[in-house]
Amino acid sequence: MSASPLPSHPDTPLLSVRGLAKHFPIRSQGLLKKQIGLVRAVDDVNFDLRRGETLGLVGESGSGKTTCARTILRALVPTAGSVHFASRGGVVDLATLSDTALKPLRQEMQMIFQDPFSSLNPRMTVGDIVAEPFRIHNLATGSDLEDRVVDILRKVGLRPEHRQRYPHAFSGGQRQRIGIARALIMRPSFVVADEAVSALDVSVQAQVINLLQDLQDELGLTYLFVAHNLGVVRQLCDRVAVMYAGRIVELADTAELFANPRHPYTKMLLSAEPHPDPDVPMSFDSTGEVADAGRLPTGCAFHPRCPRRFEPCDKLIPTLSAIPGTPCAAACHLYPTP
């Protein structure tokens, strides 16, 4: 895998992802289960995550953003690449660590899920749901644990007496707060939020966005924020990585990305977003469909939909590299590498 062409940062990044890939074999129906194809869900992903920042990972369904996040957390075993994580005990490569060595690190990396209705066990009280990570890691019991549960419930805007209730008694927004409390009770340094506010209504979504920001400031969290809603990403993220067909096609500071998108796919994505001002027309020019990760086109996976494709696009896969003179990186032949 190629070394990082990305601009480096003076401080050690919390997370450093290099050449990360996750492929799923497609097997035949028969007895032999012969491999007949390969879904390249994530391919050659490179980025750094700085301490305390929020990096948005955006893309449409099937772009590989969720698989990428799950592979980073080792919920899936990567096919290739490294994920260097600056844990409290030093820098480790999550991609190659044994399961035993990984378990204590799980306290430091947590996940907030999309669906507040299916991610909470309906048979457990809120107190038990939030305390479960502590029980698994055998870190606290009795009144000490009780205090921590009360403390985190307060932090996410719930009340101590909510401990005895079951998830069904709560609204969608409150359930998402419970999910956040469960993720944060271990005091993680790194939190993956996978579409954490996507299922919520606008009025409740705004409350949870503010909560995530407050908790980040208070607890010094670093977020990898997986989302498809560009407004949410613009509100919450410091930098944004745009994924298409398993690869990052553009990585830039949020303000820069929205003001000046470089990759033709980013441009298509931003212009297709309907704006709530009737006098700001959206573009209806988007064409084609997201590439099938099991049958990727040759060269740049976006080239069949790209209005600016030219000679090399169907032959060479462009790599993500910094665009000279800009704070952005793009994987596009329009921006040749020096």
């Binding site: 449409e60 705004a206 920001q213 977003e273 020019d285």
Partner: protein
């Protein structure tokens, strides 16, 4: 009505009686559900007018009654739900006598012909709206054969033509495929083809793009808009997405807890919202004003229908609620503020005066 390029074509028979300016009107519609919490009105005293050849967006958060309103129009409400009061008046384009759909008997031929023939619906999730065991061609042809006098061969030709119209490449090949062989965007195109193949006068679209990605959503919105103009269809567009509303609607009705709280043209409602709920909803959209340190929110959450607050149902969450005025008495009436711009708020005049100097308009995005 102002002259407009999207105006419907004149009726073929010019000597026929003039059709109503409205394609569909709801009058004081109430749809109730018997639940453990009691007999609750999911839709309460809703009056809406769909202008002929226009797109009326009905917008609100989950549980506001927007989908129940849509299902009521086609009489798709099943027990424990029922239409408890009100009228659903359909005005045929040919100028024939208006029909009150709410009053039709369940088995009447008229209801059978209206559904799918004159009024049809696009559902949110294309996979549940399509049968997995029939080819897409058979499903489109079924609608044609039910509502028009056509032979199967003619129906097939019409179906292929319709697939072409909704932008499906290779329609001669696709027509014999099953829904699982198609992508989500393609399936939604099939559902649209099914809904429009009988050239309905009214189309009800219930969150037709919510399950789709934004670039596919743009294509589907364009398709609905183009076909609506070409066929002169009047559309009720149910959605929770204010961005989609701004881009596709002519008129807007905002619902909260089963009632319409604000109604007007898309510019009136989105650029100068008069009900505090609409205004708060617009302000709490993420990503529009990233200079603000925090996103403005609406406090609390939507109460359950079994627990509707007295007075204005929005008052516990309203930043402008005044004790003694907003929390007592009857539900505020939907009344005219500025010509056809209606809001159900007792303080609408004073709030409008107070905010006259403050711009309500959302910031334009900085985009290359």
């Amino acid at each position: 009505m102002k002259p407009d390029s999207s105006a419907p074509p004149a009726p073929a028979a010019s000597h026929a009686p003039m059709p109503s300016a409205y394609a569909l009107q709801l009058k004081n519609l109430q749809t109730r559900f018997r639940t453990e919490e009691g007999d609750l009105p999911a839709v309460n005293d809703v009056s809406l007018s769909l202008r002929r050849g226009k797109v009326l967006a009905v917008v609100g958060e989950s549980g506001c009654g927007k989908s129940v309103t849509a299902y009521s129009i086609l009489r798709l409400i099943r027990p424990p739900g029922r239409i408890a009061a009100g009228q659903i008046v359909f005005h045929p384009r040919d100028g024939a006598a208006p029909i009150d759909i709410a009053a039709l008997s369940e088995e009447s031929d008229q209801l059978y012909h209206l559904r799918g023939g004159f009024i049809s619906m696009i559902f949110q999730e294309p996979m549940t709206a399509l049968s997995p065991v029939h080819t897409v061609g058979n499903q489109i042809c079924e609608a044609i054969l039910l509502h028009q006098r056509k032979t199967p061969a003619e129906a097939r030709a019409i179906a292929i033509d319709m697939l072409q119209k909704v932008g499906i490449p290779g329609p001669e090949r696709r027509i014999d495929q099953y829904p699982h062989e198609l992508s989500g965007g393609m399936r939604q195109r099939i559902v649209i083809a099914m809904a429009l193949v009988c050239r309905p006068e009214v189309l009800i679209a219930d969150e037709p793009t919510t399950a789709l990605d934004v670039t596919i959503q743009a294509q589907i919105l364009k398709l609905i808009k183009d076909l609506q103009r070409e066929l002169g269809t009047s559309v009720i567009f149910i959605t929770h997405d204010l961005g989609v509303v701004a881009q596709i609607a002519d008129d807007v009705a905002v619902m909260y807890l089963g009632r319409v709280v604000e109604q007007g043209t898309v510019r009136q409602v989105l650029k100068t919202p008069r009900h505090p709920y609409t205004a708060s909803l617009l302000r709490s959209l993420p990503g529009l004003d990233t200079d603000a340190a925090r996103l403005p929110t609406i406090q609390g959450s939507v109460p359950s229908l079994g627990n509707v607050p007295p007075g204005c149902p929005f008052h516990p969450r309203c930043p402008h609620a005044v004790p003694g005025r907003c929390d007592v008495g009857a539900v505020p009436e939907l009344r005219s503020f500025d010509a056809d711009h209606l809001a159900a708020c007792v303080r609408v005049e004073e709030l409008a005066a107070a905010t006259a100097s403050v711009s309500h308009s959302v910031k334009a995005p900085v985009q290359a």
